[in-house]
Symmetry: C2
Subunit: 324 residues, 2 copies
């Protein structure tokens, strides 16, 4: 049987999502969602990945060109090894390609989820038609992916495009990666939450809506709450989002010098604030870019595929790899 | 006649250097050097470029596969346009490819000189055998070039890999590009010269060899003088070089996250200080890299081709392009 479809898998700490795609389409022909139950350890998760794949795949797996899996953490895409799954206990150096291929009898490809989201946005989303794309996802952390000259940038070990770890302030706060002062430590959802709580506890934002939204329980303040207040025009909350956007703009100056993309795409929950976040980013980018040529034809836009970017990207990875 | 050789041109503000290469060799079969006399304007320079090429080329130009020209400034490699030649008065948006091809009757390719030096080091120098190379040239300014996945990284307009303009300190001093706080503004030869003069004039480095080397005429202090004193063990000078190295290390953390190379190559005069500069860079890189995986198999080494890197890279560009 000639393979006629592609399977994408989005392996998350909470859910395993799978989808079946036809060639050159990002509209799933079938979708499934199974709980990960990561605490039960890797072996149980392999089984559930297989189940979730079989749920969307044709009964005859030989119709499947291949399976792409988006991994939430550092991954060796060349050998198909999960180096570390931050939300997957016990996932250290797991050769997932080698484990899944005999179970499925089909080729399996792995990629970092932010890289694959970039691939998905490039092939089917906001980045269509561009050869040079910078994708950032701003949520709990800050991840990213880069298309350069019409190819996904991987680097020697597949660890490139970690744009959330652009160093902005050597004396800055601790980052999710354990080091200090990276963009993620300063402008992620986690950073916005931390700064908001700190300032409110210090008595700032006295009349702010943020306090009302959590009924005064400051431990309940999150970046989502801050975002909600900012959208409602709250000055204290807007200040926090503006600061995060400015820091993103500073990092963008370095990143545009590094990659010279023709579009920058923002995904992730915090990005949904749109221009509240992106306008301050544009201002700082323009202020620190070495020439107008970097930003004048390089719009900053929102992602088009939403939460499906990783899943679509995992399918697109197979389209790229299996069609070679 | 089947083309049998490649011509490289290094267009500098002072000299035009040319060389003829055989296929897959970086050892010139012939070399020439003509003064640029840039002040006479572009038209005179075109003529001298042609003369310098004809001096090394076979009498029958049909034996030449093509001509590569390394440009000291932002260049559109896709259309072959010099966007701006900082040391070439009047060179704004010069379509040099279009100008030179009818004069020579052979294909002409353009590239930014630091990008082409990276290409040269990758194909024939310290980066041989690597697919992912980060090259930095630390001299008056800081330039760079990147090989990713076995290809030169260009970006949408050919303006990528401007690693000297990684933002380190938004409140930092003015950069050669006009903006502020980029790596080049803090750790280039120009920056070392400025800081040294400033500190000496403020009375620091009272017993420093640097004062002796310029016989007390502080206006004569340059980064070369500081480097000479540092190599002789002078504490004041070593402090300046260590600080520059540390700043380079901070930028490297971001750049290794961005590109994940398997080797970092340093060219340019300031780099010749070797470990005096690179050891502090390694220390800071290790301190701010998000994981050991970025640097453990990624040595920081000196360039192998010296001043010829751009010339060799210009030849290598033709080998890449003309052999496609």
């Amino acid at each position: 049987m000639t393979p006629s479809c592609f399977i994408g898998v989005d392996l998350g700490g909470t859910n395993i999502r799978t989808a079946r795609f036809a060639s050159n389409s990002h509209i799933p022909e079938a979708k499934a969602k199974h709980p990960t139950h990561a605490a039960e350890g890797p072996e149980a998760v392999y089984r559930r990945i297989e189940e979730a794949i079989r749920e969307v795949a044709p009964a005859d797996l030989s119709e499947v060109a291949g399976v792409g899996i988006a991994i939430p953490g550092p991954t060796d895409p060349f050998q198909g090894i999960v180096l570390k799954g931050p939300n997957l206990p016990g996932w250290i150096n797991i050769p997932l390609k080698e484990i899944m291929e005999p179970r499925l009898g089909r080729p399996v490809f792995l990629g970092n989820d932010a890289n694959l989201a970039a691939l998905g946005e490039w092939k089917f989303g906001a980045g269509r038609g561009h050869d040079d794309v910078l994708y950032l996802t701003i949520s709990t952390g800050i991840g990213g992916g880069v298309i350069t000259g019409g190819r996904l940038l991987l680097g020697a070990r597949g660890l490139g495009a970690e744009v959330g770890h652009t160093l902005l302030d050597p004396k800055g706060p601790q980052c999710g990666c354990g080091q200090y002062g990276h963009l993620e430590a300063l402008a992620s959802g986690t950073a916005i939450t931390r700064t908001a709580q700190m300032r409110l506890k210090a008595g700032q934002g006295a009349g702010s809506k943020v306090r009302d939204l959590v009924a005064g329980d400051l431990g309940q303040v999150t970046s989502a709450v801050v975002g909600q207040a900012a959208q409602a025009g709250d000055e204290f909350a807007r200040g926090l989002i503006t600061e995060a956007g400015e820091l993103i703009g500073l990092a963008l100056a370095s990143l545009l010098h590094a990659y010279n993309p023709s579009i920058v795409i923002f995904g992730g929950g915090v990005s949904m604030l749109g221009d509240l976040l992106l306008e301050p980013a544009r201002t700082k980018l323009r202020q620190y870019a070495m020439s107008d040529a970097y930003w004048v034809d390089c719009p900053l836009v929102l992602a088009a595929l939403g939460d499906d970017a990783g899943l679509v990207g995992a399918g697109a990875l197979v389209m790229e790899e299996a069609e070679l």
